[in-house]
Symmetry: none
Subunit: 374 residues, 2 copies
């Protein structure tokens, strides 16, 4: 079986996440999803991140102590996450106003580069019974790359298609996890903060590829692993409580991965690049032929090397169109037309004809990788 460091791939490992993270090699993980403890104060009792109870009075506890220990804990696991994350990977962290500001600040300090904060808007939140505040109807996710300059996987076009051909926004409307999906043991919720699979579906689909390794350092009920398995990603989960490890394993046994063909990012296929010169070589455009702007006002002559002659200017289709429009840059494919049977035809159409004739389908699957340049 495949391994990563000491760990079996596709498993939930019981133990403290910081200790376990330290055993992972550098730059070994493609995507991280983390749902850390929230540091909530409940029933007048405060729990430190390591789950030991703190006596608010006798322990001399105050908010500063609490925040300080929480910050220290987050600095540890986030540092390790950054170390194990590949430079092409990205990380998602979910939280509420109790902890997300501290987490975001620490992430920025560590050099993570925030790409978006995503708002999970709960379509069916619990009402605020006391009526003392606004109904807290959302949680916040931070999506970040390893550093400012690093590239990352993002299936922009797939998400646009997913969203009825409009680019996906930072507000996501997803019901809370209830009903059949909610795992119960002896009639009681197995985990108090089980996340909806819909949320992980979107995250994994948009920011990872098939066979990528996804790490969840706070695995809990195993939602990340379950969706990862279903979408044919590799996964590794860390979880402190043995009970949750068992719950997650039971859950995972029932998951059937989807067939590969339906998971491929066919929508992001790129046709092989066809340089303008290829159109000339194959006679789609003749040497010496005149190209026209859409309104016919501008004309240029095609030279043998694929450059255009426009008055004294000789340059690429892009440069000449940019010059005519008085712009720094322009896409010449959308500017120039040829005359065929007296009718203007876009050279971009000719390019498509060329592609169909010489490349046909299918094209190579290609995921969009964004890379930043200095």
């Amino acid at each position: 079986m495949e391994k990563i460091g000491d760990f079996q791939i596709n498993s939930i490992v019981q133990g403290d996440c910081v200790e376990l993270l330290k055993k992972l090699p550098n730059n070994s993980v493609d995507l991280i999803f983390a749902d850390p403890p929230y540091n909530l104060q409940l029933n007048g009792e405060l729990f430190r991140p390591n789950q030991t109870k703190v006596d608010a009075v006798n322990d001399g506890w105050d908010k500063f102590d609490s925040f300080e220990s929480y910050d220290k804990f987050c600095l540890q696991w986030l540092s390790e996450c950054r170390r194990v994350l590949k430079s092409t990977g990205s990380i998602w962290v979910i939280g509420s106003y109790h902890n997300i500001f501290r987490i975001g600040k620490i992430m920025q300090d560590l050099g993570f580069w925030i790409l978006n904060d995503i708002i999970w808007i709960k379509t069916n939140p619990m009402p605020n019974f006391k009526g003392t505040r606004f109904n807290n109807a959302h949680e916040t996710l931070i999506w970040a790359s390893k550093s400012e300059k690093s590239s990352y996987t993002f299936h922009y076009k797939s998400m646009k298609t997913f969203n009825d051909d409009l680019q996906m926004r930072s507000d996501w409307y997803i019901p809370i996890c209830q009903g059949e999906e909610r795992i119960k043991v002896n009639g009681k919720k197995a985990h108090s903060t089980q996340k909806p699979e819909e949320l992980l579906f979107r995250i994994i689909l948009s920011t990872s590829n098939i066979n990528d390794l996804i790490l969840d350092p706070f695995s809990g009920s195993g939602t990340t692993a379950a969706v990862a398995k279903r979408l044919k990603r590799k996964f590794l989960g860390f979880e402190r409580e043995l009970f949750y490890v068992q719950v997650a394993n039971e859950r995972l046994n029932k998951i059937i991965p989807l067939a590969e063909p339906v998971l491929e990012y066919k929508i992001e296929r790129r046709k092989p690049k066809v340089p303008f010169g290829s159109l000339i070589e194959k006679g789609f455009v003749e040497i010496g032929e005149v190209l026209y702007s859409k309104n016919g006002l501008h004309q240029a002559v095609v030279l043998a090397d694929g450059s255009l002659q426009y008055g004294d200017l000789v340059a690429s289709i892009h440069k000449v169109s940019a010059f005519i429009l008085g712009k720094e840059n322009y896409n010449g494919w959308s500017f120039w037309y040829v005359k065929r049977n007296g009718i203007l035809q876009s050279i971009d159409d000719l390019r498509n004809l060329y592609s169909e004739k010489y490349f046909g389908t299918p094209f190579k699957i290609h995921s969009k990788t964004i890379s930043k340049t200095a």
Copy 2:
């Protein structure tokens, strides 16, 4: 005329906010709204697909050397804000992912007690032109009391009435400030980040009383003061740029206080749109399932990202149906059917089922101004 410290009540004072804050007495302000610089860290220029340049925030007041210098600045003005805030008062701070995490962390460290984070969801944000991230369609507001134990003003019932007798949620749907409301000088926007009055309307109405003193340490175009005056609150604004002070004063001169606390904004009742991808996430439509045209002649397979495979063509439900019908555009929701128990069922029906099941409580979405200032 009434004064607070050295300052005239109901005025915009020109100067550095930290210096001016220091001149205010302790515990003297009922409500603070702060819209600090976001520290956007923009690099080069950004062009739209049509090659026009985006008029970005490039103002000197948003430039900071580092996170450290930004943190230091925020620690200063937030400390002073806490000092001048009455123990019965509260503070609102607005920001984006660039700065809001740092702000929230500092506020918690100073002892502010966060009551809610409110998401201003923009109904009409600027798109992401390059397809590199999710469209950043919101900003975040933090609402906090002076300390954990302090009481604070909150008109829960008013907000519920305002919201058609439904609890007001933490997600607010408000258009960006444009059109008549946007202040222009010589045809250009007077301030690059003018906030919509509706945002301040909700804030002031929900968390202050008539005759309360409201402080805005980053007054800018004067939206806070304008709405405060209209709602019969006292106000004090600090603003570094003389130009903005003048803009705000001109604006304020035109404001007529309301005789009655009438509802100025009407909230429309609408359920969020369900994109095709959501049906897949929840299993209303299975990945790999076949969709049929009404007459059954055309069939397509559903892929994981919500795209359809129809022969060699892979695209959205809308694009594929348009292709089949030989049209430029078509509404795929009315074209495609799934087979359930041998019977064809419209995917639009499935969408309604989803909506009924998970959006039971109607959302309050778009809101509009129904009366304008004189």
